[in-house]
Amino acid sequence: MKQDNVIIAEELSKTFGDFTAVNAISFKVKKGEIFGFLGANGAGKTTAMKMLIGISYPSSGKANVVGYDVFTQAESIKKNIGYMSQKFALYDDLTVKENIVFFGGIYGLKRSVIKVKSEALINELGLQEVANNLVSSLPLGWKQKIAFSVALLHDPKIIFLDEPTGGVDPITRRQFWEMIYKTAHNGTTVFVTTHYMDEAEYCDRVSIMVDGKIEALDTPKKLKEQFDADTMNDVFLKLARG
């Protein structure tokens, strides 16, 4: 059934000149699933993700994200998804509160709704004391947790996380994953990239891209069986080293 899948990609491709960055990938992501999108640097993950979030047109193929077509309804996709990147997530020279209000406004939430949501967010993350501090003064781990919550302000059906935990300390990294579990538990789909292979184990299903193609896609358990490996790290090394 279509409404059970929040992403349906069919033969999705992207070429730059004579270079094929994404080569006819097909896959589906279910509602409420934690989907790990793995691959080596340069395998095409970022290009694929850009097409799915509606900021890059595919060269060929089809894709539907939360019920909208990536070719003709990119603007509707943007309104109904959340996105958090590692490089840019929050404005450093705005306070925590200002960032929340700013992003709430961008997503068209009413002032009254923003007020309620921002208080709830600040309480839940225990940020009362730093709510009026500049984001630049906060540790990276806090920023990433705030950025994640901000990306969920408008109750998107799916959230895309691009290496959300790079460089974050191990305890905060785990707290971040507990937030991911909770989000998925509440019905929001989580689409996540990471270079930490222990995090790949936390996903319901994992795809691994090699040179623009999806070379493997299954639950971590089945991938480990398929590649006769003890850990996802071994699966990754076997696949990507060929």
Binding site: G39, N41, E163, D169, I171, W177, Y181, H195, D198, A240
Partner: protein, 301 residues
Amino acid sequence: MSILVKNISKSYGDLIALKNLTLEVKEGELFGLIGPDGAGKTSLFRILTTLLIADEGTATVGDFDVISEYKEIRNSVGYMPGQFSLYQDLTVEENLNFFATIFGTTVEENYDLIKDIYIQIEPFKNRRAGKLSGGMKQKLALCCALIHNPKVLFLDEPTTGVDPVSRKEFWEMLKRLQQKGITILVSTPYMDEAALCDRIALIQHGKILDIESPQRIVENFPKKIFNVKASNMYQLIKSLKSYENNYSVYPFGEFIHYTDKRENFSKEELKLYLESQNLSEITIESTHPTIEDVFMELTKE
């Protein structure tokens, strides 16, 4: 050449980057600085490479003092900063020639040292550094840091954001360089890489938590660790956290690493509790601590 750091402190305004830090890296050692962003790793690198002056304390690289003999240090160490400092609009070959010339040498003179690494990027020698992939930039930056045949190599997070395959290859390169007699100080936020070092310092908030060999660090872990697994991970985490005898509950790949407050912990009792929480397919097995377990124990609040 060895590295000696004695009671080094450094602050930026109110922010304390390093607090009375002392460590020694022996000649020929592969030494890892392990800690998250903001731990103070980069400040220490910049002090040791003579690019930053500490507020307090002393440091020597070889027998040279980082302040009074900075010129000698600069000539004998290689430094690969976190954001690979390459000239984006010079080609691969031009970058390498440039760094060789600055140090008064030639690529040919020290080619043996970089050969293994350089041949991997040689097919792209006419490409501008700005157009290289992350993995290739990393290799070029390492070549540039090595081209004057340094005695000590400083590598600040060389593998951050790099995929597991390239990371593994990079560490294999480091091991080969160590065999050539180069002392290496390397920092990383990836705890699994710590096991590949001779000795490591765990660092957070500008302070050293522990310095030991990776084997000793895990041997000193004070608790028994159990791998716990059940059908529903999210529910399992919640249930373990509300278990009154839990000391720590951390997801670790497909398992939860669980430690108990009590000396005489009973697996059966925990299993019964989890079953009462409507969890199924429960397994509880003892396991060995990893460096990440140790790090979390030392930073636990």
